[in-house]
């Protein structure tokens, strides 16, 4: 039984009680506890269920590597699943719930999977995909969906605040153990800008727990002095509770700070994402202990030896009264000694090595602990908790020589340096056979923009596991780093570190050595995803020789702990099964983040209204106050329609169309792109941009033009007005202004850099209003100041002057087929001008209209819309726009592309109009099937709908479509597929449905 010890606990404050609940039941702990230590102190050893077999799961570790103790934290808008109990600092009022168990943690129905474990081997899900489809859909998928997934997604919007910080430094040190502190001290003393990150709330790492002595005193004293010195340096930033999450190109590093997790009442952001640019990164990330693979190593009560030591020393929690230590190295003896000095029983240390005569084993013997060498664990007894271990010879096949009653097992299979950050950006590893670990190869470090290595390691992360070597390694590597960035390191000796000399470990990848299939099927590698030694061996047997394939086949290391404990054991198992050396098998790829970070931290402040900038026209507020139903157009918001009381959107659109056709409509066209092209070579340039011959345009005139890319594909259209001899004003689509401006700059800067042309994006400098309908001229005449008569200002002309007191350019152009003027005024006067039009237009029946009425009216006239009739594969000829392409010009952008055989083929789909026989409205994107099948066995098609509306003017559905050889098939009827209905028949007609002669706009 686990419990709180009467004394000790270097991190807890017994005077400060903290109340919390687990699965609704009240518990108590102390300030300084983690949720894990507090639960363990309360006798809770069953904390979760595994993913696949729903086996009981208890704590294995004490930090970020913990695979089992995942809980749901908080409630309502602050609920978050999959939170690690070992990295959750306890606070008053904490609410935690267990996961992956139903109806309860103690009695879980999913455990039936366990009974069927032999039917759910490696590759189970993979093999299921091969089954007949009906079986999959109706039997396997519903079952897997119900049993899959850890935790539950929160259902409410996140109530907390998150933010990003940007930081720059010469040296970023990740890890606040003694190696990291020493590295930061050296860099700080040399005057470099330093940032030091530590993922926990405490400095010093493992040294205080391991009884290391520095400069003749306990490690803690040196650590406190080091932190104090760093704190006093202006060039050093210290950040506890901040994990180095990921390392990216050219020294870009993400830090993840848990600012408010431990104190939700504080008025601070919950998480903060640090976006750091570091000239040099030092990873002082320590090492993680590896489990041993023996049968029953997943039974609650079996823990890492270092974790047992942490719980005893840091939080005064005993994981059990009688703990058997099983190891292949000297370090685990520290756990036995820590237990012993806390007054707890250690019935035996089982050491797989034939001999153990180092400093630590001798100390254990001196403390009267029984040490059995050449021995291991054959199996663990107990279901929900350890009750005994069966002892066997490591060299044998698992015959039980003796049973030792115990309620905890501390295991150690050696240590692996945390190489994640080193590896994220391409740092390579080398296999250290003596220590049986992968460590960073300093000759193959990640390199930065200048080609120099920008990552170095310090301490255990380098593979220097013993504290004295870790300190020496940190000191030496830091000196090299400082030299590399031109800083003189102070000539100071590193602190003197005393730590017991450890004998080499013996690699043990399976316990005992000769274990058969029955035992191997109970040896867990990945606790969270239930991957066992037998699964990896099966994968090897079935031909999965690459470690990356085996990972995906077995799901080894694919759980939320990303295989921190299981990776090395898994690939060692694979290499044994393949009879290959470990370095030949290699590791899987280490990918950021080091441990999962919250989605909200990645989003930072960029959510809700500040997710992206909102562009508003000068009349935006007027629209808002007058019933605008908004539609996003790029970053703009445009009124889709203006709804009146009791009106549906559809009703509003129809009213706006009818009113514009019969009386007077006002459209805010300010979002239209307006790009001025001027200079001595403007004519030459403009003729390259447009497919037509725009240079012949006279000042005062306008012309519709098309712009294509070099493929010949249509990318934008609009009216170009000639302002004077050397300048043009190019109107673009609302979404296209920035793109087209960039396109122009590209050609001018990179291809025709000797041409004297200047382009300016004036889009936001002008407000623009379309005054449309039979009463349009009457309204402008009422305003007065500019002669807008048919004679003075004919169709496709423009003029400028003062209109109703406003400085204005008036373009006589039409996108609706009606008599129409587009009037540009300075943006600052846009709102006043708009209101003047509304007021003066009252007597003429003026009403504002939105983008949908605009779309309906342009479709009634057969005008194309970029993005509807075009999709990046359409040439102007497909749309019957041959008239807008110059045959005389030698060159323009897209001309060569249009000459390709498949562009000139008569078999292209071309624009037509469609009239449904029943008058209904076709769905957007509907396809017309044709005879036969294509090469993929799919039905051939002969056309698709590109624009489709109900025309209130004509009282029926109209559509535009691209149809195979469409213009040759006028009058033909073809059928379009409509989901859930019989195919709808439509007649191919000319795409101009209304006023084909253009009489209405020419008045």
């Amino acid at each position: 039984m686990s419990t709180r010890l009467a004394t000790g606990g270097r991190l807890i404050d017994r005077s400060a009680r903290r109340r919390f609940t687990f699965d609704g039941r009240a518990h108590e702990g102390y300030a300084g506890d983690t949720l894990a230590s507090a639960l363990l102190a309360g006798g809770h050893t069953l904390l979760g269920r595994s993913f696949k077999y729903h086996r009981p799961r208890g704590l294995v570790a004490s930090g970020a590597e913990e695979p089992n103790a995942l809980v749901g934290l908080g409630a309502g808008a602050r609920f978050e699943p999959n939170q690690r109990a070992t990295t959750t600092e306890l606070f008053d009022g904490l609410q935690a719930v267990s996961q992956n168990a139903w109806p309860s943690l103690d009695w879980d129905v999913g455990v039936v999977n366990n009974a069927f474990a032999r039917f759910l081997p490696a590759g189970f899900y993979y093999k299921m995909f091969m089954h007949p489809r009906p079986l999959w859909k109706h039997l396997f998928e519903p079952f897997i969906r119900r049993s899959a997934g850890l935790g539950r997604a929160p259902s409410e919007r996140d109530a907390d605040r998150y933010e990003h910080f940007y930081a720059f430094c010469d040296v970023l040190v990740v890890g606040g153990g003694i190696a990291g502190l020493q590295a930061a001290l050296a860099a700080g003393r040399a005057g470099a800008r330093v940032i030091l990150l530590e993922q926990t709330a405490h400095w010093g790492g493992r040294s205080p727990v391991d009884g290391v002595r520095i400069d003749g005193g306990p490690a803690e004293a040196w650590i406190n002095a080091a932190v104090q010195e760093l704190d006093g340096m202006e060039n050093v930033t210290l950040r506890p509770r901040t994990m180095g999450a990921g390392v990216y190109d050219h020294g870009y590093v993400l830090g993840y700070e848990r600012v408010g997790d431990h104190d939700p009442a504080a008025e601070v952001p919950r998480h903060r994402l640090w976006r750091i640019r570091a000239a040099r990164l030092i990873t002082a990330t320590g090492a993680l202990e590896r489990p041993l693979s023996f049968a029953g190593n997943d039974v609650p009560g079996v823990m890492l030896a270092s974790a047992v030591r942490d719980y005893v020393v840091n939080w005064a929690v005993s994981p059990g009264d009688r703990t058997v230590v099983v190891t292949n190295n000297d370090d685990a003896y520290r756990t036995a000694l820590a237990l012993k000095s806390a007054g707890l029983e250690v019935p035996a240390i089982l050491d797989a090595r034939p001999r153990a005569e180092g400093e630590l084993p001798e100390m254990a013997r001196a403390h009267g602990i029984r040490v059995e060498t050449g021995k291991g664990v054959a199996k663990v007894r107990g279901g929900r908790h350890v009750t005994a271990v069966g002892v066997c010879a490591q060299a044998g096949e698992g015959a039980v020589l003796e049973e030792i009653a115990c309620d905890a097992v501390a295991m150690s299979g050696g240590w692996s340096p945390v190489v994640h950050l080193w590896s994220h950006c391409g740092g390579k590893l080398e296999w250290d056979a003596a220590q049986a670990l992968f460590r960073p190869d300093p000759d193959r470090a990640p390199t930065g923009h200048d080609g120099h290595p920008f990552v170095a390691t310090a301490g255990a992360a380098s593979g220097a596991l013993q504290a004295d070597r870790a300190m020496a390694d940190a000191d030496e590597n830091m000196k090299n780093v400082l030299q590399g960035i031109g800083r003189k390191s102070p000539s100071r000796k590193p602190p003197k570190v005393e730590s017991a000399e450890e004998a080499p470990l013996a690699p043990v990848w399976q316990m005992p050595q000769g274990a058969g299939p029955a035992l191997r099927a109970k040896m867990w590698l990945d606790y969270q995803n239930d991957v066992k030694v037998s699964d990896v061996r099966l994968a090897a047997q079935e031909g999965y020789e690459s470690v990356e394939h085996t990972k995906r086949y077995t799901t080894l290391g694919m759980a939320t702990d990303q295989g921190k404990l299981s990776n090395i054991n898994g690939l060692a198992t694979l290499s044994q099964a393949l009879h290959e050396e470990i370095p030949q098998v290699g590791t899987t790829t280490f990918r950021p983040p080091y441990t999962p970070i919250s989605m909200a931290a990645i989003a930072g402040e960029a959510r809700g209204p500040v997710f992206q900038p909102l562009r508003r026209t000068p009349m935006h507020e007027w629209h808002e106050a007058n019933g605008a139903d908004w539609e996003p157009v790029g970053q703009w918001r445009r009124p889709y329609c203006y709804r009146r009381a009791g009106e549906s959107r559809r009703d509003a659109v129809h009213r706006e169309v009818r009113n514009t056709r019969n009386a007077l409509g006002l459209l805010d066209a300010s979002t239209l792109g307006k790009i001025m092209v001027s200079g001595p070579d403007a004519e030459r340039f403009i003729d390259m941009l447009y497919t037509g011959k725009m240079s012949t345009l006279k000042p005062g005139k306008c012309r519709y033009g098309l712009m294509c890319d070099e493929n010949g594909f249509l990318m934008d259209d609009g009216v170009c007005a000639r302002l004077d001899e050397r300048s043009f004003l190019c109107h673009t689509t609302s979404g296209g202004a920035e793109r087209i401006h960039g396109w122009m700059e590209d050609w001018l800067q990179c291809e025709w850099w000797d041409w004297q042309v200047h382009v300016v994006n004036l889009t936001e400098q002008f407000a623009q209003v379309a005054v449309v309908g039979p009463n349009a001229r009457n309204l402008l005449e009422r305003l007065g100041g500019i002669d807008v008569s048919k004679e003075t200002l004919p169709f496709m002309a423009w003029t400028e002057g003062t209109l109703g007191g406003f400085r204005a350019r008036v373009f006589r152009i039409s996108f609706s087929g009606e008599l129409s003027f587009e009037i540009a005024v300075p943006a600052s006067e846009g709102r006043a001008f708009w209101e003047r039009l509304v007021e003066a237009g009252e007597g003429f029946g003026a009403m504002p209209y939105g983008t949908e009425a605009l779309h309906v009216m342009r479709a009634e006239k057969g005008f194309i819309m970029i993005g509807d009739e075009t999709d990046g594969t359409i040439i102007p000829q497909d749309l019957g726009l041959d008239w807008a392409i110059s045959k005389k010009k030698e060159d323009f952008l897209g001309k060569r592309g249009m000459e390709r055989v498949n562009m000139t083929s008569p078999d292209r789909w071309k624009l037509v109009g469609l009239e449904t026989l029943d008058g209904s409205v076709l769905p957007d994107g509907a396809h017309a099937p044709a005879e036969g099948l294509n090469a993929n066995g799919q039905r051939n098609t002969q056309g698709r709908v590109t624009s489709t509306y109900y025309s209130p003017t004509l009282g029926r559905g109209i559509a535009m479509a691209l149809v195979h050889r469409g213009p040759e098939r006028m009058g033909e009827t073809i059928a379009f597929n409509v989901p859930g209905r019989t195919p709808v028949k439509a007649k191919i007609v000319e795409p101009v449905f209304y006023d084909p002669k253009g009489e209405r706009q020419n008045v």
Binding site: Y248, D249, H250, G251, Y252, R277, T447, G448, H449, D450, G451, E710, N711, G742, E745, D746, Q749, C750, E751, W753, E890, D891, K895, R896, G897, E899, R900
Partner: protein
């Protein structure tokens, strides 16, 4: 995320301040060009594992296009230079040669 220096305004900034524009020093094949030349201009890219010349625009800065000589394998940037040139300038070529003696050269 890369660090690049704009040769026009001299600013060294993060990749997100720039816009990538694909391979540099392409020769435009206009009307009248044979099919293979046009295909090469439009579609065929070198895509080298090593020294590469590419177009960037300082889109959230001075707005100018420039070229970068960069190693696609290590992401090392040998240098950046203005876009108004049909081939990499001598100092850039020398910088690449110093770092990559085996480089086969431009074109």
């Amino acid at each position: 995320m890369l660090l690049l220096t704009c040769p026009n305004c001299g600013v060294t900034a993060e990749e997100s301040e720039f816009h990538q524009g694909g391979e540099a020093h392409l020769r435009r094949a206009g009307p009248g060009s044979p099919d293979d030349a046009f295909e090469g201009y439009l579609f065929t890219r070198r895509n080298p594992h090593g020294v590469h010349f590419e177009r960037w625009r300082h889109v959230f800065g001075c707005g100018k296009w420039f070229h970068a000589a960069r190693c696609t394998a290590t992401l090392e940037v040998f240098g950046t230079y203005p876009a108004q040139t049909t081939e990499p300038p001598a100092d850039i070529v020398a910088a690449i040669r110093a770092k990559r003696p085996d480089w086969e050269g431009f074109r």
